[in-house]
Amino acid sequence: MSVREVAVDAYREALPVLAASAVGGLFAGVVLGGMRAELEAVAGLLVLVPALLATRGNVYGALGAKLSSALHQGLVAPVFDLEDERLRAAIAAAMANGVLVSVFAAVVAYPVLLVLSRPSASLLTLATIAFIAGLLSGIALTVVVVFAVFVGYRRGLNPDTLVGPVVTTTGDVFGMATLLVAVRLVLALGGG
């Protein structure tokens, strides 16, 4: 293939995926843009945003990739059955990783903010927000990923190519929306 053919092929294949996830990213941006009051109320919250968004992609993207490989190998049946030991283990591990890493982001960010003498909410506040956001987005993204992989597979689509775009599109939206819910909840409970 010539350079031109390779480029045209790659461009055509990627454009719809990029466009779809850009729409998701814009929705996430609107949520973030509407969160200015919360960002001012909880100093240091903005530091967590990239880590939390990336965790959603890393953890639930890996869950999707794992489940699609397992479907191809016949290790998991494409039905949502919590009796299935493998499916249950994969989901539980993803949720545990997602929540742990979210709280870890807060634990890393807090001392750095202190050392740089930047304003920061208490560690408890940041960690609680990260925990709640990690839990809620984990539930939402597990449902989305399992649904997309299984339904896609049953309809004859390759779940490998489906997982990436689905996770990048929904990860940002759910990531930001659950962060907003978590901040509001913690602020209502008196954190800050």
């Binding site: 461009y11 200015r36 953890v59 990048t168 940002d172």
Partner: protein, 189 residues
Amino acid sequence: MSGARSSTWTVQGIARAMLPLLAVLTVVEVGSGLVLDTFEEQLLRYPSLLVLVPVTIGTAGNLGSILAARLSTAFHLGTLSFAPDDDRLLGNAVATFGLAVTIFPVVGAAAWLVTSITVSADLGFVTVVLVATLSGAVLAVLAVVVTFVATYAAYRLRLDPDDVVIPVVTNTCDVLGVLVLFAVVRLVL
């Protein structure tokens, strides 16, 4: 049955395999969060820039991961050479740049539009489109460089590019997304 159950399908097994990489990536992402925090004042004053943050980070990461996935497949199929005049390398690099300069102006326009609907028009339309387009063009070049270097490193270290390159590239591009957006905002505003 218990004997056949491999550790790749237990909660501890999966967690143990992933947590070290996740922890490292999280530290890197917190670094980009700190950069974001240093221009919080500007972001709060101009919500259109705040709206641009997730989509810029996300699209930069996607450009990198799509390119990495394509190179990784070509690598497994044995159709990729690391010569600077390799058609596949050049073609994919051109496509990545083309995708960025297609997507980012539209993203800028959309960010300006949704901000003026939901909050208020804080910056001019042309300014926001310019910030998005410049960021996108720079990020495409960086995404290509990072992906080529990471794929080549995986090849030299005899690692499977599928396992390492995509998370490394995606997260590096995330961080670069924040840095480039920050630099472009300083340049344009």
